[in-house]
């Protein structure tokens, strides 16, 4: 398990999610694919956090302070915020889907073309 291997898996997951988000016509499927992409990004962020050295610990001579060491966790903090944003996004997205379904009796994104001019 190296950084490159984790990034490989993350990139594959992201590509699958991107394909789903672009190729699906059902709005719920699009939202689910976006969730896969969020997860891929989180895996990459945490892999960077785990396998790379934070700035400040690569200088010479090295001074190990708690602050410099804690910078190694920045990727994990980013993931926490991504997860929160994803939760807000899926709640609003599904609310929109249900509103559209009530008004139009469809959740097919290819049918929703009023704004295409």
């Amino acid at each position: 398990m190296t950084l490159e291997n984790v990034l490989l898996v993350s990139a594959i997951l992201f590509a699958i999610g991107l394909y789903g988000a672009l190729a699906k016509s059902n709005a719920i499927m699009v939202l689910m694919s976006i969730e896969i992409m969020f997860n891929a990004v989180n895996v990459a962020a945490i892999a960077f956090s785990r396998f790379t050295v934070p700035a400040g610990l690569t200088d010479t001579p090295v001074v190990v302070t708690q602050q410099a060491v804690q910078r190694a966790l920045t990727g994990q903090m980013l993931s926490v915020f991504v997860i929160t944003a994803a939760a807000a996004e899926i709640a609003l997205g599904l609310a929109l889907v249900i509103v559209v379904y009530r008004r139009r009796d469809t959740v097919d994104v290819t049918d929703l073309t009023e704004m295409s001019g």
Binding site: V6, M32, F48, V64, A88, V97
Partner: protein, 210 residues
């Protein structure tokens, strides 16, 4: 190390296979269940990458909340013909996704990251501060400096050495939330509140209209 590698590759096959299932399966409900498998596999990655707190958050938020929301939405709108069918851009989408994935993999394998393994060879003390046990006195920082800067000193192991940051990531994340990341934390709280009110407002409006 070998055991970790086996677990990692098993989780990789599981995550990639399940996410392929999500985008290829025709039945929406099966896709939602496969999505749960993806979420659990990602939580496994988090454990492997020493992010135990995030693994728990992943299971709570994604498996516990988001997938339930998705299943509810599918149940509410289930009588649509042809659940997970593709639109006419299928080939373009596959090409774009494959190209972007290939680009990401190319960049990942050709970049020069400051790797922990290299650091372990050149400066074992600093690497130990991140991954394992380290002794502060061996490096130039003095323990008193910690006490001044932070109320909570880094935890000590049985032999008196400090425990590496990844062995205590949950505590360190808690500290970061109330120190370095206070502003993003508050902003994200407002975001969640706005999303909640927005979702309620969206779903109320229709009942007032009719």
């Amino acid at each position: 190390m070998l055991f970790q590698d086996i677990v990692f590759w098993v989780l990789s096959v599981l995550a990639i296979g399940a996410s392929l299932g999500v985008v290829l399966v025709k039945d929406l409900f099966r896709a939602a269940l496969l999505l749960v498998v993806v979420f659990i596999a990602v939580a496994g990655f988090f454990v492997l990458l020493s992010a135990e707190f995030l693994a728990v958050v992943q299971v709570l938020v994604y498996v516990g909340a988001i997938s339930i929301l998705i299943v509810f939405a599918i149940v509410l709108v289930r009588d649509i013909p042809g659940g997970g069918k593709d639109n006419h851009l299928k080939v373009v989408a596959a090409t774009v996704a494959a190209l972007l994935g290939a680009l990401a993999i190319f960049v990942a394998f050709n970049s020069d990251f400051t790797d922990l393994d290299a650091l372990e060879a050149s400066n074992a003390d600093v690497a130990a501060a991140l991954t394992g046990t380290y002794n502060l006195d061996a490096t130039e920082a003095v323990g008193d400096e910690f006490e001044d800067q932070y109320a909570v000193a880094p935890p000590e192991g049985e032999d008196g050495t400090q425990i590496g940051i990844f062995s205590n990531s949950t505590g360190a994340i808690g500290g970061l939330f109330i120190r370095d990341f206070v502003l993003p934390f508050e902003a994200v709280s407002v975001l969640l509140l706005a999303a909640m009110i927005g979702a309620l407002a969206l779903l109320r409006q229709r009942e007032e209209d009719s």
